[in-house]
Structure formats: structure tokens, C-alpha cells
């Protein structure tokens, strides 16, 4: 059984997988977050998308648990706006401040990373691009050099590895310039 409770697909050619202890090979902290990966590679138009959404939700729940109990700082919350789970809304928090967060999973997802936007912060940075579906959003052009995204990465992993750093660097910059007390 998969973590979501769905039965594993039967594969005639399935062989026992070599088990790798990720603690041995982990090079950086992020490698330890392999539990935020998804098993199903499916896009919103695909048949298997419902299974992928269950895995996404599972990963997201684990990430929020991690933030709450391990980091003791739940700086982000996010929930799907509908059963198709292609649009998500939530909040990003920093001290007394809170900003709305909007995420879209496009039809090409998970071949491309999620498109993410924090409307009120977009005006304070130029690390953004103009997106047809979302308007100004967080830029992922700079991901190329250390491109870690692949089809099994989840929305939760994107929040952890991209959005959190983006928010931190923008807020730090705003504080330095005196725009945020």
C-alpha cells in the first residue's frame, strides 16, 4: 500500500528495488526531505491525477507537521480551493505580518514547477516574471544553475526549497531598506 492508501500498480516487470539509506548519501539538509516526494507522475489532465493530488496533500500535511513540531514556526499555510487541486490559496506569516499566497499547478505540472504568487510582496522585488495565468509571480528563471525540480517533487518541496528562500530574501531586503518594520 502507498501512504495514501491506494493500492500499488501491478507491474509484470517489477523487481525488488535496491534499498538506499538516504542518511548515508545525503549531501545537504534537503536530501533528508525525501518523504516530501510523490510517487505518481501525473499531470492535471491525466487519469492518474487524483492519485497524485492525494500524494501532494500527504506531503503537504507532513511538511506542515514538520514546521509545527520541529521548527516550531508554521510560517505558511495552504489549501486547495477545489477538488481538482490545481489552485491553492493560503497565507505566509512573518512576525505580526501575514500575506496572501496563491499557487497554480498548470497542466504541464509536474514537468514544470508550480507557479506561485504573493501579491503584496511582488512590488518589492524584481525577482518575478509575468505569467499569463497568474500575473506577476515568483521567478524560477534563476533555478537553472541548481535545477533540482523533477516530476516527483511535490508542492510541499517547492514551498520548502523555493518559496521559503524567496520570502526570506525579499523580507530581509525590505527590512534593510526600511520598508518593513
Amino acid at each position: 500500500m502507498t501512504p495514501t492508501g491506494a493500492p500499488l500498480p501491478r507491474d509484470r516487470f517489477a523487481r525488488p528495488r535496491k534499498i538506499v539509506d538516504r542518511y548515508d548519501t545525503a549531501k545537504q539538509e534537503d536530501d533528508l526531505f525525501y518523504f516530501l516526494l510523490c510517487g505518481t507522475n501525473a499531470s492535471p489532465p491525466d487519469e492518474k491525477w487524483p492519485l497524485r493530488t492525494l500524494e501532494e496533500q500527504y506531503a503537504l500535511d507532513r511538511y506542515f507537521e514538520y514546521l509545527k513540531y520541529m521548527e516550531k514556526h508554521a510560517w505558511i499555510e495552504l489549501a486547495a480551493t477545489g477538488p481538482s487541486a490545481t489552485r491553492w490559496r493560503g497565507k505566509v506569516r512573518d512576525g505580526a505580518h501575514a500575506w496572501d499566497l496563491e499557487v497554480i499547478l498548470k497542466d504541464a505540472y509536474p514537468a514544470i514547477p508550480p507557479a506561485c504568487r504573493i501579491p503584496e510582496l511582488m512590488h518589492y522585488t524584481d525577482r518575478k516574471i509575468d505569467d499569463e495565468a497568474l500575473g506577476l509571480r515568483i521567478c524560477d528563471m534563476h533555478m537553472e544553475q541548481s535545477y533540482w525540480w523533477h516530476e516527483h517533487c511535490s508542492l510541499a518541496l517547492y514551498l520548502k526549497r523555493e518559496v521559503s528562500y524567496w520570502v526570506q530574501s525579499v523580507l530581509q531586503d525590505m527590512r534593510r531598506k526600511g520598508w518593513l518594520k
Binding site: K106, D107, Y124, I129, C139, M141, H142
Partner: protein, 255 residues
């Protein structure tokens, strides 16, 4: 109409291939910015039968340092402006334009439709994610993809020719390919993230893409899997790299 018959006169003198075969070929061009617009013009003038153009952007003043677009076209969708231009440049070419984002909605549906019937895809996009997405779709559909790109500082360029099953795909050997370091510290509050775009580099890369496109479509010469252009040294390097059998996109083991 003697003029029209002589349109391809200089191409007919080409001895390595028969350019008249291009009239039956269909090419999809994803992204019609600095690279795509030029490549589209070259292909249309050479007599490619059908071009499908994808881009959701509109013509902006900042695009005018490069070729093709005109000041009077500011505000128009790029694909529409380009289709009008190509229709005049060579009325023989059928041009279909999709003013949508290929990664979602109507653009995605349009691209999937075009993949069923086109002979070649020209990737002229600026984001890595979309490149990988195109690569994955072309490998799955077994359609050659020719991806062009310029470096962030605008001086270097690269052309990848992905012939599914033959040459390495865009995902193969990815970590082995190192480019110059990215600077992320220019964070003043102006405009959106954009890279330098030099008209010369763009024209060179677009021409290289078209050259490889002709070689793939008309089957002549030796296709270069990867071409690296260095503008500072004035060198063009051909890299004959190997496919990665464990590549998640084109390797034998499907994920």
C-alpha cells in the same frame, strides 16, 4: 507571377538537399521572442509549408532592439504580429498562431494537437522548466526538438538537437553541463526578471537552429547534437556527447 516562381530560385541551386520538400513539412515554434521570431522568418522564407507559433506575450518596446517586430506593433500579441509579417514575407507558408501559454489551458491543448501532426519542434523559450517540459513531450511523441538558448549575459549561445532515440535529450547529462554563475543580487524595484539579449547572438543562435532544422527535415549533413557558440572568443564548438541510459526522460527505464 514570374516573381513567385523565382522565390526559391537560389534555394534550388543548393546541391546537398532538395528544398522543395520543405513545402510538405510542418514545424511548431514555441516562444517567438528574440530567437523564435527570427527562426520563424527564416523557415517561412525558405518555404516550410506550415508553421505553428506559440507565445502568450505581447510586443513591448524592450523587444525592439532585436529584429522583426516594429514600433507600430507594440501591444499586439507577438504571434499575431509575426503571423502578419510572415504572411507578407511568404504567402506560401501557412501560419497558425496560438497566443497562449503552452504549459496550461488552451496553449497546452494546442501544443498536444500540434505534436500529433508536426515534423519538428523549435524550442525558443527562456525558462528551464518549460525546456524540460517540451523535451519530455517531444521525446514521448518521438518528434525532433531543436532547442536554442543564449546565456544570461547575452554573449554565448547553445543549440541542442534532440532526436528521440538517437541524440541525447535535454535532460541527459544535465549536471555535467556547467555554465557561468548566476547573479541574483540585482533586486531594485524595477520591472520583471529579464536577461540581456544581444541581437547578434540571438540571430546566430536562431540561424544555427534553422540550419540544424533543415538538416533534420531534409536529411543531409551530420546533425550536431550540441553546438556551443562563444561570442567573446568567436568560436563554435560541436559536442558529440552520449545519451544517458539512466536518463529519467529518455532512458530505457520508464518512471
Amino acid at each position: 507571377m514570374a516573381q513567385v516562381r523565382e522565390r526559391y530560385d537560389r534555394l534550388k541551386r543548393f546541391t546537398f538537399a532538395d528544398f522543395s520538400k520543405l513545402a510538405a513539412k510542418r514545424v511548431a515554434i514555441v516562444g517567438v521572442g528574440g530567437l523564435g521570431a527570427l527562426a520563424a522568418e527564416i523557415l517561412a522564407r525558405a518555404g516550410v509549408g506550415r508553421l505553428a507559433l506559440f507565445d502568450y506575450d505581447t510586443v513591448e518596446e524592450a523587444n525592439l532592439n532585436r529584429l522583426v517586430y516594429r514600433t507600430s506593433q507594440i501591444g499586439q500579441p507577438k504571434v499575431k504580429a509575426l503571423a502578419a509579417h510572415l504572411g507578407d514575407a511568404n504567402p506560401d507558408a501557412e501560419v497558425v498562431s496560438y497566443p497562449h501559454d503552452v504549459t496550461t489551458g488552451r496553449g497546452y491543448v494546442g501544443l498536444m494537437g500540434e505534436l500529433d501532426k508536426c515534423d519538428l519542434v523549435l524550442g525558443c523559450v527562456d525558462t528551464f522548466g518549460v525546456r524540460l517540459f517540451l523535451n519530455g513531450k517531444c521525446v514521448a511523441a518521438k518528434i525532433p526538438l531543436i532547442d536554442g538558448g543564449a546565456s544570461e549575459n547575452g554573449i554565448n549561445g547553445a543549440v541542442h538537437v534532440v532526436i528521440p532515440g538517437k541524440t541525447p535529450c535535454y535532460r541527459c547529462n544535465r549536471p555535467a553541463l556547467k555554465q557561468e554563475q548566476v547573479t541574483t543580487d540585482r533586486r531594485d524595484v524595477t520591472g520583471v526578471c529579464a536577461f540581456t539579449s544581444l541581437p547578434t547572438t540571438m540571430a546566430i543562435v536562431a540561424s544555427l537552429q534553422c540550419q540544424e532544422a533543415f538538416k533534420v527535415l531534409l536529411k543531409f549533413g551530420r546533425v550536431a547534437p550540441l553546438l556551443l557558440y562563444n561570442g567573446l572568443d568567436g568560436t563554435l564548438e560541436r559536442v558529440d556527447w552520449k545519451r544517458d541510459p539512466k536518463c529519467p526522460t529518455c532512458g530505457r527505464r520508464k518512471t
